[in-house]
Symmetry: C2
Subunit: 343 residues, 2 copies
């Protein structure tokens, strides 16, 4: 008799691992407005005027970063930013954080203090405080942050509200962080010229104010770009039950990104579409809302908001149009959990 | 010129590491009623009728557990319990949790699912739900849980309210978990006879209902025993600014613990006073409150609440009385962060 082979987590997709939990975890009570795996954060209605949003994210040495790439203070700031970005994607305001650190016993005391300094500093810049945490020994350095935020008036930017006819919008210049990471990995001899790109990976700006503006300005769906534009677009389309046509000519390819890609012989568009960790916001809105949204983001934050495509009915599929031709978007959401170290 | 030697985190006490944060982190806002390092959980006043309590705790393979010691489901339950115990020590009610897991890529999918099953099951038994989380690769298995609870009517059991003349009380039979861990480490040949003790380490009962009863019943200070009775007593005495006299004859040494200690040639009282991870509650109350507290805990939970000593003014110090003699309690709170693997 053949014995069933036991599968490891590395053979599974992260989303499948999360989806499997519905078989082993009890249903969430009704005051959990958004629960496991459904959006950028959980959303709780605990009876006050506002809802709470709640997320956690982690940076593990050797998986998400290497120590030569950034200082301890930058690492702390980055651990704050990846969590702040999830709160931003809900259009909510950050409140308070717990930090759970795994510290190798050889870690210098000053590294620990600088890390916490960076964490508190970046949270503080967005109105949030470190209110507690936990220290544990660990074989590698890791920082788990749990962040609470407030959704004013019980309104949040969700993934599931995009409608056919809406336009697809993105903040900033996605792809720059992935190019910066490429520079960090290569220890690029032309390093000074990719400084801006590397800084985009090291110190991404969580789009907290932008998320609030966008939610108030009438967007219909929102998500942050942590896995890559196409991957997170797929999450948004699936949650909303829609298709999309991306327009290549409209993608916000920065001159810096193009120059760097040319020098290292890479395709800048691949970084823009596939590279993660930009922590820009991807959202949808009816066409008539766009001019005001763009003006607000420009005036208040000097942040570009680019119209990159159109939301279609689900039956029309997902496409990338380039010039007169178009090609079907591949399902990019499927990634093996133990696969390549993307970060 | 002599260069200042750089210190590692392993040369420092965990409490010193936390205390150092006041130099690098901004002050917490006034709605943070209890903040960093001050009690078993943080306490937030977000404007509703109740306060929120919020804690996180972590189990790291090789630091806090070894996989042969317990099943994946038991590990999940234990990760819930260590967090539930912190909420219990505030007299609060658990609400919702996020789980951040570091998974080695070779981990079997079924282990992950059993772990989450155990986590959800134990949280559910105390009225709380897993509402989200994060999966990351890691070199060893670890489970970070962040748990929110509700403090009804803005009342919490704090460490700092003990007053001279109060009695010192403890639930259950502390020391049994430490003896159980001793059995697990030794793979004791007489294992079946220490089964109860091992189960006390593997599956501690968080004293959630007891914490609520005790708070309503008029205790003046409360803490859970995670570091060991003496260590946590010291936290309570320091926070309250009091001294104490423990009475050896009154310590609740269980017959099982005494038998096991005799067989392996160890001092059961050392386990009772020094062993951690019992997750029993240590509290103080005026003498006239005690009979009712004991009756309630016995009737509702069949849980003994033992009077083990008296709270003194700080000037009178901290003592352990045994027969006619007494000896000064050593400061046990100082532990090097990278020191012996206690767990």
């Amino acid at each position: 008799m053949e014995r069933k082979r036991r599968r490891t987590v590395s053979e599974k997709d992260e989303f499948d691992l999360i989806a499997a939990l519905r078989h082993v975890l009890p249903r969430e009570p009704s005051w959990v407005r958004i629960g496991r795996g459904a959006d950028d954060t959980a959303v709780l209605d605990l009876g006050g005027r506002d809802w709470l949003v709640w997320t956690c994210d982690t940076l593990v040495e050797g998986v998400h970063f290497r120590r030569p790439w950034l200082s301890a203070r930058q690492l702390g700031r980055r651990a704050a930013s990846v969590n702040l970005s999830d709160v931003a994607a809900m259009g909510a305001r950050p409140l308070a954080a717990l930090a759970s650190l795994h510290l190798p016993s050889t870690l210098q005391d000053s590294v620990y203090r600088q890390l916490m300094h960076g964490l508190g500093e970046q949270l503080g810049a967005f109105g949030a405080s470190v209110v507690g945490g936990n220290l544990s020994r660990g074989s590698v350095l890791s920082i788990d942050v749990s962040l609470l935020g407030r959704a004013h008036g019980k309104r949040v930017g969700r993934r599931h509200g995009a409608r056919p006819g809406d336009r697809l919008l993105v903040t900033g210049f996605p792809g720059e962080a992935a190019a910066g990471l490429h520079g960090l990995r290569r220890r690029d001899p032309a390093a000074p010229r990719s400084l801006r790109l590397r800084r985009r990976w090291i110190a991404p700006t969580p789009r907290v104010e932008a998320g609030e503006f966008l939610l108030r300005g009438g967007i219909t769906a929102m998500i942050d770009i942590s896995d890559g534009l196409l991957a997170d677009l797929e999450h948004l389309c699936r949650a909303s039950g829609v298709g999309v046509e991306l327009q290549c000519e409209h993608l916000p390819l920065s001159a810096t990104l193009q120059r760097y890609a040319r020098r290292v012989g890479r395709d800048p568009q691949a970084w823009l579409l596939g590279g993660g960790e930009d922590y820009e916001l991807l959202c949808t809105a009816p066409p008539h809302r766009i001019p005001l949204l763009q003006k607000r983001l420009h005036d208040a934050l000097q942040l570009p908001l680019t119209d990159i495509g159109e939301i279609l009915p689900a039956s029309r599929g997902r496409w990338l149009r380039s010039g007169g031709r178009r090609r079907r978007l591949a399902a990019t959401g499927h990634r093996h959990f133990g696969g390549r170290n993307r970060r």
